[in-house]
Amino acid sequence: KAVAMAKLILLLLNWIFLCCNVAAVFEDQVGKFDWRQQYVGKVRFSHFDSHMQSSKKVLLASESNVFAALNTRTGELFWRHVDKTGPEGNIDALLQHGQDAVLVIGNGHLLRSWDIGVGGMNWEMVLDPGSFRSACLVGHQGAVKHLAVLKKTVISLHYLSNGHQKWVENLPESETVDFQAVYSGGNGEVYALGVVPNSHLAIVVYSLEDGEITKQVSVEAPWLSSIPASCSVISRGLLTCVDSTTMSLYTLDLHLQLEMTQIPLQTLGLDVDPGFRPSLVSHQPNPAHPPLSEFLLQLGPEHHLLLQHNDGQIVTLRDYKPALLASFATAGEKTVVAVMAPKNKTACSINLFSAETGRRLLETTLIFTVDPNGGKPEKLHVQAFLKKDDSVGYRVMVQTEDHTLTFIQQPGRVMWTREEALSDVVTMEMVDLPLTGAQAELEGEFGKKADGLMSMVMKRLSSQLIMLQAWIAHLWKLFYDARKPRSQVKNDVSIENLSRDEFNLQKMMVLVTASGKLFGIDSKTGDILWKHYLENIPLNAAFKLMVQRTTAHFPHPPQCTLLIKDKDTGLATLHVFNPIFGRRSQVTPPALPQPILQSLLLPLMDQDYAKVLLLVDDQYKVSAFPSTKNVLQQLQETASSIFFYLADSGQGRLSGYRLRTDLSTEQVWEVVIPTETQKIVSIKGKRSNEHVHSQGRVMGDRSVLYKYLNPNLLAVVTESTDLHQERSFIGILLIDGVTGRIIHEAVQRKARGPVHVVHSENWVVYEYWSTKSRRNEFSVIELYEGMDLYNSTVFSSLDRPHAPQVLQQSYIFPSSISTMEATLTEKGITSRHLLVGLPSGGILSLPKMFLDPRRPEVISEQSREENLIPYAPELIIRTEWFINYNQTVSRVRGIYTAPSGLESTCLVVAYGLDIYHTRVYPSKQFDVLKDDYDYMLISSVLFALFFATMISKRLAEVKLLNRAWR
């Protein structure tokens, strides 16, 4: 009986579960339509885990405040910790000892120790305030048990095991002396090194035991301004500095000397490259022992030297020229120097040298192939290990300017590459893949001009033949694959065999990253198909990617244009490329000598089907790209109907312009929002590829409420300058971009940004922080023309005299949000959802139905007829609405939506630190048969019915005949 009861409960639970979970992904569908890629960001510090011989970990701390461990065999993440963005989570230093890795975070605010085996935190310590300068591990009598943290005014010593402070001491004369470095050579003393720029060097020695100052000296050094930039400690406490103005090396024995010894570089037979700032690198394999007496000196961009300090003399062990990079590595007791030298244009060779003697080690050459579409090598991370025969083997991780990590094994086998630039995607587009060769051939046949009947027939026959051939090849492949086990069938995607699938679900994702590297990613698998690094991208560049020609115009190649603009100067450049192959296009973009204010892609096309890009410069002159005669003529004809707007948030000015036939412009309207009270924070127009299927909404009483579908409408969001919680507000202005007419103006009082806005169809949804109720709120504005349409055929902003009806409603949302976007489908029949990126890493698919200002407070017969949900002030987050189930997307910054060939399906890409791609079906898959659809059953039923009719027909005939005979 009890068993039966338990079963019953289980069954009921199952029912409930099934009823609720219809919208979610089934377990067997995980990873079928979606993929996720996790990134770290530009690497700042890296350490190979060397405490175990067999370890395959490399620790990375990045400029995106991420700390992670990678598998050196595959390049995949073992674990990753994502800290706060901005200076609060900034990783200042990474120190590794044995199983522990200690991070100094947030300008010396926090000290955190991690267990690198599992990625768990050992301890965390909050440090005294003060800006961070330097940190080092402190060893004594062969064991490393402490670490020292140097701040602007204090130095503190902490236990490595639990982070507790052993002692903290004020630095003497810290008002005048700028302490910059801390050093310990394993002899029970901690050295704090400070400098009074262009005057002298201050050295304070602390006792490891109790923090007592055992020695304090100041040394004349009028040429010195920064210790980390030009000095390093080598050997047994020998501070060595290099100075480019006096062209000399300086040495100072920290224990004995009170004056620096100058060694002119000329005496060593060395010369600094003009304009180059030389630098010194020393190596301390174990913090409990003093550093090596060998050090690396860089004298030019391609000139490195291995020097040795021997009995008070500096000797050159080896001169590396040309050498791009050089770096120390230690395996066991042996220390080696890896040097990367350019070999030819496409390859570099890396060699190992013994640090002690400077001799080249045999059979250690490794070839690094430089990607012509990548950046130059920037850093060399070497993992050295002892082979069985006690010789040194090594692998290198090369970091290039485009934030790529390449892990190479001897003799040059690339084990993996990671494109860390993808952790900072700025903008993206999805481009349709081209048709297959056969399809393209057919298209091309219609595209070409007819030349005689006979040749046309021949052409048709040949194209049919090609199609037949392709079909047979396809069948053969199917047959061949069917014999192999499923796991072995690989869908090899390469640029050569890329082609559009039946429902256009596979597209090319073109991503633009902040580093200036462009990527082409296959949306189905997430494979990087092409990459292209643009050099000389300004640091604060703004990017705008436009698709000028799609793949639909065979044989013209598709064409994308990237506008790169320096935010400070306004100067811009254009990069024109083929989005399928990533190659630079043959079309030469125009030079843009003037700062660019605005760019707009017109629906006009030139004779080669490229959309016209207009660029407005700071003289309000317009230039077109492409600027052929045909384009200029078209522009002249349509100039009077081309309007554009400019927004200057600094002055609160929105102004509208009209194009003149001579490509100059005239200002036609102006709206000025006083900057004393509010500032413009965001302006959102509608997406140009958006379709709206239905012009109106059918009401409960069968009448139609028509939507106000103004394609030129802009949603302008302002925030008040007064941030007091009682007086702060956000303003929403709906402005027609052609006439400058303010359609609606609303103020959300006691509210504050950041405001996230989505503007589509006839609605605007925005999210803000309510300072009064201290919560996040959503608000929706919908615009309706009313019960009759003013002009149902064409919308013109110049001829819509009546203001639309405005409906608005607000809701409470239980979470803050990171970004927001609306789904988009081919024809706009499918209902819309809002995709909300949450800080927790979830992406919520919120039905627009819940954000509808017509939701009634009191339920009536009519509202029920219309399927309106009764108003509830709170929007609830249902867990089955998360489209990325457990695939957390860290730090979502943007969501991109694109329609597919299926009306029910919308392609979604969420990008931030991670990239996640999936498909969503806002109205379920109404146009697709299910995966487990029973074809056998339906066809057997059909056949059975067919035969039954045949038989019964025959029987009926026989019966009729018999009756006739009777």
Binding site: L601, I673, S682, G740, N791, T793
Partner: protein
């Protein structure tokens, strides 16, 4: 989020369309004149317009706006009829599809700033000159203010708004403006409506409390029938699984 506004782009491409719209008969009375009688303690600013054959802006005074300041701002307009010369020019401009522009200075309607206004820019708007002609100078001008009572925008539309290409023969139709004027302050956007919702919830719970019999759920009412049925189904299901599962499924199909 793209916060870089100067970089934000919208393609604003408007298709002009000449529709067939019923002509609204216009009265040539000066509607706004009535307001002038009332006592006005506001400021007066010029309303200027410009219509030139080469579309350059040469603004001349069209009338005077009397803005009543304070808590509930209102506006009145006194304007002169168009001169013979202007009427001809307006018709000519309409024929070449020129623009009819208006502008007002940026002023604040706040009480403390009203004494004198200094020009720190204008707010401009436009309408096609042909629409102005064909509507017989029937225009609707709206002034928009921000929360602090500063004028931020002006808009002008004509009723009807379309240009059908009809000739206006009678010069008299173009003499007097038939202007509808209004001033709009931003509306307060509603917050989440919690109090009403709570009231409604309370009412419902009260209702439930009054007649508990009717409000019982389906399960609560019929559990004594459902539970044995489900039990029975489960028992038979268990037998099916152990024995002839296939036959059971076929029966279900």
């Amino acid at each position: 989020m793209a916060r870089d506004l100067s970089f934000r782009v919208a393609v604003l491409f408007s298709f002009l369309f000449f529709g067939f719209i019923n002509f609204v008969c216009c009265n040539n009375e000066r509607r706004v004149g009535d307001a002038l009688e009332t006592d006005f303690s506001g400021l007066s600013v010029p309303l200027e317009h410009s219509f030139e054959l080469d579309d350059t802006a040469k603004f001349v005074v069209r009338g005077t706006l009397l803005l009543k300041t304070g808590r509930e701002p209102s506006v009145a307009l006194s304007q002169n009829p168009l001169s013979e010369e202007d009427r001809v020019k307006l018709k000519e401009v309409a024929e070449v599809d020129g623009l009819y522009r208006i502008r007002v200075p940026r002023v604040s309607l706040q009480a403390d700033r009203q004494t004198e206004w200094q020009v720190d820019g204008y707010l401009t708007a436009f309408v096609r000159a042909c629409a102005m002609v064909e509507s017989h100078l029937s225009d609707v001008i709206t002034l928009h203010t921000d929360v602090s009572g500063y004028l931020i925008g002006v808009s002008i539309v004509t009723i009807p708004g379309a240009c059908r290409g009809t000739k206006v023969e009678d010069e008299v139709d173009l003499e007097v403006f038939n202007t509808t004027l209004s001033i709009m302050a931003p509306v307060n956007a509603p917050g989440p409506e919690t109090s009403l919702f709570l009231e409604r919830m309370e009412q419902e719970t009260e209702k439930k409390g009054k007649n508990p019999q009717e409000q019982k759920s389906f399960f609560a009412k019929y559990w004594m029938y459902i539970v044995p049925l489900v039990l029975f189904l489960m028992m038979s299901g268990a037998q099916d699984q152990s024995g002839g599962g296939a036959s059971g499924r076929a029966a279900a199909a």
